[in-house]
Amino acid sequence: MRGPKVSPGVWTVLVLAVLCLLWQWASAGGQINPFYFSSPSAIWGSFRSLLAAGTLQKHFIVTVKEAGLGLVCGGVLGTLAGLFLGTHPRVSAALMPLLTGLNGVPKLALGPLFIIWLGLGLRSKVLIAGLMVFFVFAFNLYAGIRSVDRSLVLSVELLGATRGQVLRKVLWPASLPWVMASLRTALGLSLSGAIVGEYLGASRGMGWAISAAGERYDTAQVLCYVFVIVVLVIVLDCVLRGVEKWVLRWQ
Protein backbone atom coordinates (compact mmCIF):
# COMPACT_ATOMS: atom_id res chain seq x y z
CA MET A 1 0.00 0.00 0.00
CA ARG A 2 1.39 3.35 -1.03
CA GLY A 3 0.00 6.74 -0.24
CA PRO A 4 -0.38 9.48 -2.82
CA LYS A 5 2.91 10.69 -4.27
CA VAL A 6 4.44 13.56 -2.34
CA SER A 7 7.24 15.48 -4.02
CA PRO A 8 10.61 15.36 -2.18
CA GLY A 9 10.55 19.15 -1.88
CA VAL A 10 7.54 18.93 0.41
CA TRP A 11 9.44 16.52 2.65
CA THR A 12 12.41 18.88 2.83
CA VAL A 13 10.18 21.74 3.97
CA LEU A 14 8.37 19.49 6.43
CA VAL A 15 11.60 18.27 8.03
CA LEU A 16 12.85 21.85 8.27
CA ALA A 17 9.60 23.02 9.87
CA VAL A 18 9.67 20.27 12.49
CA LEU A 19 13.30 21.03 13.34
CA CYS A 20 12.53 24.74 13.67
CA LEU A 21 9.58 24.04 15.96
CA LEU A 22 11.72 21.76 18.15
CA TRP A 23 14.46 24.37 18.24
CA GLN A 24 12.04 27.15 19.13
CA TRP A 25 10.44 25.02 21.86
CA ALA A 26 13.81 24.00 23.31
CA SER A 27 15.17 27.56 23.45
CA ALA A 28 11.93 28.94 24.89
CA GLY A 29 11.83 26.19 27.54
CA GLY A 30 15.48 26.64 28.48
CA GLN A 31 16.66 23.19 27.29
CA ILE A 32 19.25 24.98 25.17
CA ASN A 33 20.77 28.37 25.83
CA PRO A 34 19.52 30.90 23.26
CA PHE A 35 22.62 33.04 23.85
CA TYR A 36 24.76 30.38 22.15
CA PHE A 37 22.21 28.75 19.92
CA SER A 38 19.75 31.56 19.24
CA SER A 39 16.22 30.61 18.23
CA PRO A 40 14.18 30.63 15.03
CA SER A 41 12.14 33.58 16.19
CA ALA A 42 15.26 35.60 17.00
CA ILE A 43 16.76 34.75 13.62
CA TRP A 44 13.56 35.75 11.90
CA GLY A 45 13.60 38.98 13.89
CA SER A 46 17.12 39.88 12.84
CA PHE A 47 16.28 38.89 9.25
CA ARG A 48 13.42 41.40 9.24
CA SER A 49 15.43 44.21 10.78
CA LEU A 50 18.41 43.61 8.49
CA LEU A 51 16.08 43.63 5.54
CA ALA A 52 14.36 46.80 6.67
CA ALA A 53 17.68 48.56 7.15
CA GLY A 54 18.87 47.41 3.71
CA THR A 55 22.03 45.91 5.25
CA LEU A 56 21.23 42.37 4.18
CA GLN A 57 20.64 43.36 0.56
CA LYS A 58 23.87 45.37 0.48
CA HIS A 59 26.07 42.52 1.78
CA PHE A 60 24.16 39.96 -0.27
CA ILE A 61 24.80 41.80 -3.54
CA VAL A 62 28.49 42.25 -2.75
CA THR A 63 29.03 38.54 -2.06
CA VAL A 64 26.95 37.35 -5.01
CA LYS A 65 28.89 39.66 -7.30
CA GLU A 66 32.26 38.34 -6.07
CA ALA A 67 31.17 34.72 -6.27
CA GLY A 68 29.47 35.21 -9.62
CA LEU A 69 32.51 36.90 -11.18
CA GLY A 70 34.77 34.24 -9.71
CA LEU A 71 32.54 31.50 -11.09
CA VAL A 72 32.42 33.03 -14.55
CA CYS A 73 36.15 33.84 -14.79
CA GLY A 74 37.34 30.62 -13.17
CA GLY A 75 34.78 28.61 -15.10
CA VAL A 76 35.65 30.02 -18.51
CA LEU A 77 39.41 29.81 -17.95
CA GLY A 78 39.14 26.34 -16.41
CA THR A 79 37.01 25.12 -19.31
CA LEU A 80 39.47 26.49 -21.85
CA ALA A 81 42.40 24.95 -19.96
CA GLY A 82 40.62 21.58 -19.73
CA LEU A 83 39.75 21.62 -23.43
CA PHE A 84 43.29 22.53 -24.38
CA LEU A 85 44.90 19.91 -22.13
CA GLY A 86 42.43 17.25 -23.25
CA THR A 87 43.21 17.84 -26.90
CA HIS A 88 46.99 18.15 -26.49
CA PRO A 89 48.20 14.93 -24.86
CA ARG A 90 51.89 15.90 -24.97
CA VAL A 91 51.36 19.25 -23.29
CA SER A 92 49.06 17.71 -20.71
CA ALA A 93 51.57 14.97 -19.93
CA ALA A 94 53.95 17.75 -18.91
CA LEU A 95 51.47 20.07 -17.21
CA MET A 96 49.00 17.78 -15.44
CA PRO A 97 51.33 16.82 -12.57
CA LEU A 98 52.02 20.51 -12.05
CA LEU A 99 48.32 21.37 -11.99
CA THR A 100 47.57 18.50 -9.64
CA GLY A 101 50.26 19.80 -7.31
CA LEU A 102 48.93 23.36 -7.45
CA ASN A 103 45.44 22.10 -6.77
CA GLY A 104 46.75 20.50 -3.62
CA VAL A 105 47.73 23.91 -2.21
CA PRO A 106 44.98 25.04 0.16
CA LYS A 107 43.75 28.06 -1.76
CA LEU A 108 42.17 29.67 1.29
CA ALA A 109 45.54 29.68 2.98
CA LEU A 110 46.75 31.88 0.15
CA GLY A 111 43.90 34.28 0.82
CA PRO A 112 45.94 36.72 2.94
CA LEU A 113 48.50 36.87 0.14
CA PHE A 114 45.83 37.74 -2.43
CA ILE A 115 44.49 40.43 -0.13
CA ILE A 116 47.96 41.91 0.16
CA TRP A 117 48.30 41.85 -3.62
CA LEU A 118 44.85 42.96 -4.67
CA GLY A 119 43.47 44.83 -1.68
CA LEU A 120 40.43 44.41 0.53
CA GLY A 121 37.89 44.89 -2.26
CA LEU A 122 36.24 42.84 -4.93
CA ARG A 123 39.28 41.65 -6.84
CA SER A 124 40.93 39.54 -4.16
CA LYS A 125 37.65 37.69 -3.51
CA VAL A 126 37.11 37.06 -7.21
CA LEU A 127 40.59 35.61 -7.39
CA ILE A 128 40.01 33.24 -4.47
CA ALA A 129 36.59 32.11 -5.76
CA GLY A 130 37.87 31.87 -9.32
CA LEU A 131 40.90 29.85 -8.35
CA MET A 132 38.83 27.30 -6.47
CA VAL A 133 36.48 26.95 -9.41
CA PHE A 134 39.20 26.89 -12.05
CA PHE A 135 40.61 23.54 -11.00
CA VAL A 136 37.19 21.90 -10.86
CA PHE A 137 36.50 22.86 -14.47
CA ALA A 138 40.01 22.17 -15.73
CA PHE A 139 40.17 18.65 -14.29
CA ASN A 140 36.60 17.74 -15.19
CA LEU A 141 36.89 18.91 -18.78
CA TYR A 142 40.23 17.23 -19.20
CA ALA A 143 38.69 13.96 -18.04
CA GLY A 144 35.62 14.65 -20.18
CA ILE A 145 37.58 15.18 -23.38
CA ARG A 146 39.69 12.12 -22.71
CA SER A 147 36.62 9.96 -22.28
CA VAL A 148 34.99 10.95 -25.57
CA ASP A 149 34.32 7.91 -27.71
CA ARG A 150 37.17 7.73 -30.26
CA SER A 151 34.93 6.15 -32.86
CA LEU A 152 32.64 9.20 -32.81
CA VAL A 153 35.59 11.50 -33.48
CA LEU A 154 36.85 9.20 -36.21
CA SER A 155 33.51 8.95 -37.96
CA VAL A 156 33.09 12.70 -38.01
CA GLU A 157 36.65 13.14 -39.30
CA LEU A 158 35.77 10.69 -42.05
CA LEU A 159 32.83 12.86 -43.01
CA GLY A 160 35.40 15.54 -43.73
CA ALA A 161 35.54 17.53 -40.49
CA THR A 162 38.47 19.82 -39.78
CA ARG A 163 40.11 19.89 -36.35
CA GLY A 164 38.08 22.91 -35.36
CA GLN A 165 34.88 21.26 -36.47
CA VAL A 166 35.70 18.13 -34.48
CA LEU A 167 36.18 20.33 -31.42
CA ARG A 168 32.96 22.26 -31.93
CA LYS A 169 30.69 19.47 -33.10
CA VAL A 170 31.99 16.45 -31.17
CA LEU A 171 34.35 17.19 -28.30
CA TRP A 172 32.49 20.19 -26.91
CA PRO A 173 28.96 18.73 -26.94
CA ALA A 174 30.35 15.46 -25.60
CA SER A 175 31.86 17.30 -22.64
CA LEU A 176 28.72 19.26 -21.78
CA PRO A 177 27.69 16.74 -19.10
CA TRP A 178 31.05 17.44 -17.46
CA VAL A 179 30.55 21.20 -17.71
CA MET A 180 27.19 20.89 -16.01
CA ALA A 181 28.61 18.69 -13.26
CA SER A 182 31.44 21.18 -12.74
CA LEU A 183 29.00 24.05 -12.59
CA ARG A 184 27.02 22.43 -9.80
CA THR A 185 30.12 21.68 -7.75
CA ALA A 186 31.53 25.12 -8.47
CA LEU A 187 28.43 26.94 -7.33
CA GLY A 188 29.00 26.17 -3.65
CA LEU A 189 32.76 26.48 -3.99
CA SER A 190 32.68 29.96 -5.47
CA LEU A 191 30.33 31.19 -2.73
CA SER A 192 32.45 29.75 0.05
CA GLY A 193 35.53 31.15 -1.67
CA ALA A 194 34.06 34.64 -1.68
CA ILE A 195 32.72 34.39 1.87
CA VAL A 196 35.90 33.05 3.39
CA GLY A 197 37.77 35.70 1.42
CA GLU A 198 35.63 38.35 3.08
CA TYR A 199 36.30 36.71 6.40
CA LEU A 200 40.00 37.11 5.86
CA GLY A 201 39.80 40.79 5.10
CA ALA A 202 37.06 42.98 3.72
CA SER A 203 34.79 45.85 4.63
CA ARG A 204 31.52 44.45 3.33
CA GLY A 205 29.84 41.26 2.11
CA MET A 206 28.09 38.48 3.92
CA GLY A 207 31.34 36.89 5.09
CA TRP A 208 32.42 40.14 6.65
CA ALA A 209 28.94 40.63 8.18
CA ILE A 210 29.09 37.15 9.71
CA SER A 211 32.49 37.77 11.24
CA ALA A 212 31.37 41.19 12.53
CA ALA A 213 28.22 39.73 14.06
CA GLY A 214 30.27 36.94 15.59
CA GLU A 215 32.51 39.43 17.31
CA ARG A 216 29.39 41.01 18.85
CA TYR A 217 28.17 37.55 19.96
CA ASP A 218 25.07 38.18 17.86
CA THR A 219 24.33 34.52 17.09
CA ALA A 220 20.94 35.33 15.59
CA GLN A 221 22.51 37.52 12.94
CA VAL A 222 25.27 34.99 12.18
CA LEU A 223 22.70 32.28 11.68
CA CYS A 224 20.49 34.58 9.68
CA TYR A 225 23.27 35.09 7.12
CA VAL A 226 24.03 31.39 7.15
CA PHE A 227 20.40 30.62 6.31
CA VAL A 228 20.38 33.17 3.50
CA ILE A 229 23.43 31.46 2.01
CA VAL A 230 21.90 28.00 2.36
CA VAL A 231 18.68 29.10 0.70
CA LEU A 232 20.61 30.84 -2.07
CA VAL A 233 22.59 27.69 -2.84
CA ILE A 234 19.47 25.53 -2.82
CA VAL A 235 17.64 27.87 -5.18
CA LEU A 236 20.56 28.20 -7.59
CA ASP A 237 21.11 24.45 -7.58
CA CYS A 238 17.45 23.92 -8.49
CA VAL A 239 17.80 26.36 -11.36
CA LEU A 240 20.98 24.63 -12.53
CA ARG A 241 19.27 21.28 -12.36
CA GLY A 242 16.55 22.59 -14.64
CA VAL A 243 19.13 23.96 -17.06
CA GLU A 244 21.03 20.68 -16.96
CA LYS A 245 17.90 18.71 -17.71
CA TRP A 246 17.28 20.84 -20.75
CA VAL A 247 20.88 20.97 -22.00
CA LEU A 248 21.35 17.22 -21.62
CA ARG A 249 17.90 16.23 -22.82
CA TRP A 250 19.48 13.93 -25.39
CA GLN A 251 20.80 11.61 -22.70
Binding site: S151, S155, V156, L158, L159, G160, K169, P173, L176, Q251
Partner: protein
Protein backbone atom coordinates in the same frame (compact mmCIF):
# COMPACT_ATOMS: atom_id res chain seq x y z
CA UNK B 1 38.86 2.71 -58.42
CA UNK B 2 40.26 1.27 -55.20
CA UNK B 3 43.66 -0.31 -55.18
CA UNK B 4 45.90 -1.88 -52.58
CA UNK B 5 49.30 -2.98 -53.83
CA UNK B 6 51.55 -5.10 -51.68
CA UNK B 7 50.25 -3.44 -48.54
CA UNK B 8 51.64 -4.49 -45.18
CA UNK B 9 50.23 -3.10 -41.95
CA UNK B 10 51.74 -3.68 -38.55
CA UNK B 11 50.36 -2.44 -35.27
CA UNK B 12 52.72 -1.76 -32.40
CA UNK B 13 51.58 -3.68 -29.36
CA UNK B 14 52.55 -4.56 -25.82
CA UNK B 15 53.89 -8.00 -26.71
CA UNK B 16 55.80 -7.03 -29.85
CA UNK B 17 54.22 -5.72 -33.02
CA UNK B 18 51.36 -7.43 -34.77
CA UNK B 19 51.14 -7.87 -38.52
CA UNK B 20 47.54 -7.31 -39.52
CA UNK B 21 47.98 -7.30 -43.29
CA UNK B 22 50.76 -9.07 -45.11
CA UNK B 23 51.57 -8.05 -48.69
CA UNK B 24 47.96 -7.65 -49.54
CA UNK B 25 46.66 -6.90 -53.03
CA UNK B 26 43.13 -5.84 -53.69
CA UNK B 27 41.46 -4.05 -56.53
CA UNK B 28 37.91 -2.79 -56.83
CA UNK B 29 36.72 -1.38 -60.14
CA UNK B 30 34.41 1.59 -60.61
CA UNK B 31 30.80 0.62 -60.00
CA UNK B 32 31.70 -2.76 -58.58
CA UNK B 33 30.24 -4.22 -55.40
CA UNK B 34 32.92 -6.27 -53.71
CA UNK B 35 32.47 -8.20 -50.49
CA UNK B 36 35.43 -8.84 -48.23
CA UNK B 37 35.11 -11.96 -46.09
CA UNK B 38 37.42 -13.57 -43.60
CA UNK B 39 37.71 -14.84 -40.07
CA UNK B 40 37.39 -12.40 -37.18
CA UNK B 41 40.59 -10.45 -36.55
CA UNK B 42 42.05 -11.13 -39.98
CA UNK B 43 42.34 -7.48 -40.89
CA UNK B 44 39.12 -6.60 -42.73
CA UNK B 45 38.56 -3.40 -40.80
CA UNK B 46 42.22 -2.60 -41.25
CA UNK B 47 41.79 -2.74 -45.03
CA UNK B 48 39.02 -0.15 -44.86
CA UNK B 49 40.99 2.03 -42.46
CA UNK B 50 43.96 1.97 -44.81
CA UNK B 51 41.74 2.98 -47.71
CA UNK B 52 40.20 5.76 -45.63
CA UNK B 53 43.64 7.08 -44.76
CA UNK B 54 43.18 6.32 -41.07
CA UNK B 55 45.96 3.74 -40.86
CA UNK B 56 49.31 4.18 -42.59
CA UNK B 57 50.68 1.02 -44.16
CA UNK B 58 54.26 0.05 -43.33
CA UNK B 59 54.81 -0.84 -46.98
CA UNK B 60 52.94 -0.83 -50.27
CA UNK B 61 50.78 1.68 -52.08
CA UNK B 62 47.16 2.61 -51.72
CA UNK B 63 45.29 4.37 -54.48
CA UNK B 64 41.81 5.78 -54.65
CA UNK B 65 40.56 6.72 -58.11
CA UNK B 66 44.15 6.64 -59.29
CA UNK B 67 45.38 9.03 -56.61
CA UNK B 68 47.60 7.92 -53.75
CA UNK B 69 45.76 8.14 -50.44
CA UNK B 70 47.02 10.74 -48.03
CA UNK B 71 44.80 11.80 -45.19
CA UNK B 72 41.05 11.56 -45.09
CA UNK B 73 39.14 11.64 -48.36
CA UNK B 74 35.73 13.23 -48.43
CA UNK B 75 34.56 11.37 -51.54
CA UNK B 76 34.51 8.16 -49.54
CA UNK B 77 31.55 7.24 -47.40
CA UNK B 78 32.67 5.02 -44.55
CA UNK B 79 30.11 3.27 -42.40
CA UNK B 80 32.04 1.74 -39.53
CA UNK B 81 31.29 -1.22 -37.32
CA UNK B 82 30.45 1.00 -34.34
CA UNK B 83 27.32 3.02 -33.86
CA UNK B 84 28.51 6.54 -34.59
CA UNK B 85 25.47 8.79 -34.65
CA UNK B 86 26.10 11.78 -32.41
CA UNK B 87 23.77 11.24 -29.45
CA UNK B 88 23.21 14.96 -28.79
CA UNK B 89 21.86 15.68 -32.26
CA UNK B 90 18.44 14.87 -33.59
CA UNK B 91 18.39 12.21 -36.28
CA UNK B 92 17.78 14.89 -38.91
CA UNK B 93 20.79 16.91 -37.76
CA UNK B 94 22.88 13.75 -37.77
CA UNK B 95 21.92 13.01 -41.36
CA UNK B 96 22.66 16.63 -42.26
CA UNK B 97 26.05 16.61 -40.52
CA UNK B 98 28.28 15.96 -43.52
CA UNK B 99 26.57 18.78 -45.42
CA UNK B 100 26.93 21.04 -42.39
CA UNK B 101 30.67 20.35 -42.30
CA UNK B 102 30.87 21.41 -45.92
CA UNK B 103 29.06 24.66 -45.24
CA UNK B 104 25.78 23.86 -47.00
CA UNK B 105 23.18 26.31 -45.72
CA UNK B 106 20.68 25.18 -43.14
CA UNK B 107 17.56 25.16 -45.29
CA UNK B 108 19.09 23.21 -48.16
CA UNK B 109 20.72 20.63 -45.95
CA UNK B 110 17.60 20.06 -43.88
CA UNK B 111 15.55 19.57 -47.02
CA UNK B 112 18.01 17.12 -48.45
CA UNK B 113 18.32 15.27 -45.14
CA UNK B 114 14.54 15.01 -44.93
CA UNK B 115 14.37 13.53 -48.42
CA UNK B 116 17.15 11.05 -47.64
CA UNK B 117 15.46 9.98 -44.44
CA UNK B 118 12.22 9.38 -46.28
CA UNK B 119 14.11 7.37 -48.87
CA UNK B 120 15.66 5.24 -46.11
CA UNK B 121 12.30 4.69 -44.46
CA UNK B 122 12.96 7.00 -41.54
CA UNK B 123 10.23 9.55 -42.19
CA UNK B 124 8.64 10.71 -38.96
CA UNK B 125 11.79 10.31 -36.90
CA UNK B 126 13.46 13.56 -37.94
CA UNK B 127 13.26 15.13 -34.50
CA UNK B 128 13.95 11.96 -32.50
CA UNK B 129 17.18 11.44 -30.60
CA UNK B 130 19.39 8.58 -31.81
CA UNK B 131 18.77 6.68 -28.58
CA UNK B 132 15.09 6.49 -29.53
CA UNK B 133 15.83 4.54 -32.72
CA UNK B 134 16.11 0.78 -33.08
CA UNK B 135 19.42 -0.76 -34.13
CA UNK B 136 18.29 -1.13 -37.74
CA UNK B 137 17.04 2.44 -37.89
CA UNK B 138 20.34 3.70 -36.51
CA UNK B 139 22.20 1.88 -39.27
CA UNK B 140 19.87 3.34 -41.87
CA UNK B 141 20.43 6.81 -40.44
CA UNK B 142 24.19 6.23 -40.55
CA UNK B 143 23.90 5.23 -44.21
CA UNK B 144 21.73 8.25 -44.97
CA UNK B 145 24.29 10.50 -43.26
CA UNK B 146 27.00 9.23 -45.58
CA UNK B 147 24.82 9.31 -48.71
CA UNK B 148 24.05 12.98 -48.12
CA UNK B 149 27.22 14.07 -49.89
CA UNK B 150 26.97 11.64 -52.81
CA UNK B 151 30.11 9.62 -52.17
CA UNK B 152 31.48 7.85 -55.22
CA UNK B 153 32.76 5.07 -53.00
CA UNK B 154 30.98 3.45 -50.08
CA UNK B 155 32.83 1.32 -47.57
CA UNK B 156 30.77 -0.61 -45.06
CA UNK B 157 32.14 -2.56 -42.16
CA UNK B 158 29.76 -5.33 -41.09
CA UNK B 159 26.98 -2.79 -40.99
CA UNK B 160 24.21 -5.25 -40.27
CA UNK B 161 26.02 -7.73 -38.04
CA UNK B 162 24.21 -6.88 -34.80
CA UNK B 163 20.74 -6.91 -36.37
CA UNK B 164 18.11 -9.62 -36.51
CA UNK B 165 17.75 -11.70 -39.67
CA UNK B 166 14.59 -10.01 -40.91
CA UNK B 167 15.88 -6.47 -40.55
CA UNK B 168 19.18 -7.48 -42.05
CA UNK B 169 17.46 -8.88 -45.11
CA UNK B 170 15.44 -5.70 -45.60
CA UNK B 171 18.57 -3.56 -45.33
CA UNK B 172 20.45 -5.82 -47.73
CA UNK B 173 17.70 -5.20 -50.26
CA UNK B 174 18.07 -1.48 -49.56
CA UNK B 175 21.79 -1.70 -50.29
CA UNK B 176 21.13 -3.57 -53.52
CA UNK B 177 18.65 -1.01 -54.79
CA UNK B 178 20.85 1.85 -53.64
CA UNK B 179 23.77 0.43 -55.56
CA UNK B 180 21.63 -0.23 -58.63
CA UNK B 181 20.25 3.30 -58.70
CA UNK B 182 23.38 5.30 -57.84
CA UNK B 183 26.00 3.16 -59.56
CA UNK B 184 28.49 3.83 -56.78
CA UNK B 185 31.41 1.60 -55.91
CA UNK B 186 30.91 -0.45 -52.77
CA UNK B 187 33.41 -2.33 -50.66
CA UNK B 188 31.46 -4.36 -48.16
CA UNK B 189 33.06 -6.13 -45.21
CA UNK B 190 31.23 -9.01 -43.62
CA UNK B 191 31.88 -12.31 -41.95
CA UNK B 192 28.55 -13.61 -43.17
CA UNK B 193 29.17 -15.58 -46.34
CA UNK B 194 25.50 -15.70 -47.33
CA UNK B 195 25.31 -11.93 -47.15
CA UNK B 196 28.50 -11.59 -49.18
CA UNK B 197 27.23 -13.82 -52.00
CA UNK B 198 23.81 -12.19 -51.99
CA UNK B 199 25.16 -8.70 -52.51
CA UNK B 200 28.46 -8.89 -54.32
CA UNK B 201 29.81 -9.08 -57.83
CA UNK B 202 32.93 -10.51 -56.36
CA UNK B 203 33.71 -12.10 -53.02
CA UNK B 204 37.27 -11.66 -51.80
CA UNK B 205 38.39 -14.11 -49.16
CA UNK B 206 41.05 -13.12 -46.67
CA UNK B 207 43.29 -15.53 -44.83
CA UNK B 208 43.56 -15.76 -41.09
CA UNK B 209 45.91 -13.14 -39.59
CA UNK B 210 48.03 -11.78 -41.10
CA UNK B 211 45.48 -11.00 -43.78
CA UNK B 212 46.21 -11.85 -47.40
CA UNK B 213 43.83 -12.51 -50.26
CA UNK B 214 43.49 -16.27 -50.60
CA UNK B 215 40.72 -16.38 -53.14
CA UNK B 216 38.47 -14.27 -55.34
CA UNK B 217 35.12 -15.60 -56.44
CA UNK B 218 33.03 -14.00 -59.17
CA UNK B 219 29.35 -14.15 -58.27
CA UNK B 220 27.48 -14.67 -61.52
CA UNK B 221 23.99 -14.51 -60.09
CA UNK B 222 21.61 -12.44 -62.24
CA UNK B 223 20.96 -8.74 -61.57
CA UNK B 224 18.90 -6.97 -60.43
CA UNK B 225 18.87 -9.16 -57.37
CA UNK B 226 16.62 -9.38 -54.39
CA UNK B 227 17.64 -11.34 -51.34
CA UNK B 228 14.71 -13.73 -51.45
CA UNK B 229 15.13 -14.49 -55.16
CA UNK B 230 18.75 -15.53 -55.05
CA UNK B 231 18.99 -17.19 -51.69
CA UNK B 232 17.44 -20.48 -52.80
CA UNK B 233 18.78 -20.73 -56.33
CA UNK B 234 20.98 -23.78 -57.04
CA UNK B 235 23.83 -21.56 -58.26
CA UNK B 236 23.81 -19.73 -54.93
CA UNK B 237 24.11 -22.97 -52.99
CA UNK B 238 26.92 -24.13 -55.25
CA UNK B 239 28.87 -20.89 -54.75
CA UNK B 240 28.30 -20.98 -51.04
CA UNK B 241 29.68 -24.52 -50.83
CA UNK B 242 32.80 -23.65 -52.79
CA UNK B 243 33.62 -20.53 -50.80
CA UNK B 244 32.65 -22.09 -47.51
CA UNK B 245 35.15 -24.91 -47.87
CA UNK B 246 37.93 -22.37 -48.42
CA UNK B 247 36.67 -20.13 -45.62
CA UNK B 248 36.44 -22.98 -43.15
CA UNK B 249 40.12 -23.72 -43.71
CA UNK B 250 40.90 -20.12 -42.77
CA UNK B 251 38.59 -20.30 -39.80
CA UNK B 252 40.44 -23.40 -38.61
CA UNK B 253 43.73 -21.55 -39.04
CA UNK B 254 42.32 -18.60 -37.08
CA UNK B 255 41.31 -20.94 -34.25
CA UNK B 256 44.89 -22.04 -33.86
CA UNK B 257 46.02 -18.45 -33.27
CA UNK B 258 46.61 -17.07 -29.81
Amino acid sequence: MLELNNVTVTYPGGAGSLTALDHMDLQVDRGELVALVGPSGCGKTTVLNVLAGQVKPAAGTVRLAGEPVKGVLPSVGYISQADTLLPWRSVLDNVALAMELRGVDKKTRRERARALMAQMGLAGFEESWPRELSGGMKKRAAIARVLAVDPAILMMDEPFAPLDALTRQRLQDDILSLWETTGCTILYVTHDLTEAITLADRVVLLSARPGRVVGTYAIDLPRPRRVMDVKFSPRFVELEKTIWSALSRELAAAEGQP
